[in-house]
Amino acid sequence: MYKLIEFLRRIFVPLLFIVLEVCAVVYYARSSVYTQAKLLTRSNQAVGAVHGALTGVRRYFSLGGENRLLLERIATLEEELFRYRRMTADSLREVQLAGVEAKPYELSVARVISNSINKSRNYLVLDRGLRDGVEEGMGVLSPEGAMVGRVVASSERYAVAMSILNTSFKASGKIAGDDYFGSIYWTGDDRYRVRMRELSKYARIGEGDEVVSSGFSQYFPADIPIGFVESFSLAADQMSYDVEIRLAVNVSQLTDVVLIRNRDLDEIRQLELQARSMKN
């Protein structure tokens, strides 16, 4: 009996280590980007305020750059306003306004309080949450309108968005002005570049061409800028292109983002659920 107790005492720590390690491995294996995003959302309920304060300090030093961007944006909007004022036909103006009303997307803004680029799965923590109408499924754009990611979890005060620099992020993209589309993904080794695969070999493509969203995604409307073609080559199957894209956004420099909500998202999801249940 004494020998048994002594034996158990001797193997207690290695045994406990194996049990704990197996539990951790199983938990990690069962986790997904959503598990990680939910953990981040919960921890930000505790540390989000500190992140916010630190972001405030960082923002102070980038105010000059933000002012310049705002001025550029104002100049662009002034130009559009000038063109709009020149439209003399009221009917044309009404058609334009009706078009705005009918758009199924709704925009809002948020501040980035935490942003990583040095992991395989990178996330942005935003200072807007459920109480501000920010919920899972909203697209995230840079202030210039380029694709940044999408919201995957939100608490009352904060939201976590999966960055375009996340190996689990997928989006549908195409060359601007063309109809063939491909799948956008991040390889994890370059914060300035993503790749597009399965772009038909019949697509009209050239270096420097703009790559935009195809509009097939539930989260982003069509023609949201993603980046510019840096290089391309035929894939091994000789049927499609592999394209290297330089991102239109510098994710590491983001301080503010624009959130875009697809008003029809719930309806689309319900339809998908119905379709799936009919299949089963």
Binding site: P14, Y28, V47, N115, K119, S120, D189, R191, Q253
Partner: protein, 172 residues
């Protein structure tokens, strides 16, 4: 007998440094230092193995929660608790570690402490980055992250060890 307060402070300071500073480094995708591992590195040599293991577990869970790691920090940190003693024994010799003490350049000697630190960081970072990538095709990228992040972590942990074992802190 070692006082718990300096280690509670060290735990909190490392967690804050990791979450608010090192996790937000935007210099390179290859640079992701994980300095929180300093807590396990600096635990007293003669601390009971079960306490070391539970301390490593607490650290792993805390970092998983704050970094959204879903278990990966725990996976990488727990083996250090088991490997610590054999590593110290093989680097410094049994007779040098029998008396206990806090692992530091002063206690173990600069060369021995550096070898111990590099071994601990190498094991932890290799586990972390391999489990995070889980892909042979990304092996060069994973090795790049391991080498660069590991080197930076070793540098920072060396500094943290010097600060932690400075006389003023040790008297707390």
């Amino acid at each position: 007998m070692y006082r718990a307060y300096p280690y509670i402070l060290l735990f909190a300071a490392l967690a804050l440094l990791q979450v608010f500073l090192f996790d937000n480094l935007s210099i390179s995708v290859y640079l992701s230092p994980l300095v929180y591992v300093a807590f396990v590195v600096l635990l007293p040599i003669d601390l009971r193995p079960s306490v070391v293991l539970l301390s490593a577990l607490a650290l792993g869970i805390a970092m998983d929660w704050t970094m959204g790691g879903a278990g990966i920090n725990t996976i990488a940190t727990l083996p250090l608790a088991v490997l610590r003693r054999p590593l110290l024994r093989s680097i410094c010799g049994e007779e040098n570690i029998r008396e206990g003490g806090i692992p530091s350049p002063e206690r173990l000697g600069r060369g021995s402490f550096l070898r111990y630190l590099v071994a601990m960081v190498a094991v932890h970072h290799l586990l972390f980055f391999v489990v995070e990538a889980l892909s042979w095709s990304r092996l060069p990228y994973t090795l790049g992250r391991w080498l660069l992040s590991g080197a930076v972590s070793v540098g920072f942990i060396w500094l943290i060890a010097r600060i932690f074992t400075a006389k003023r802190i040790a008297k707390l």
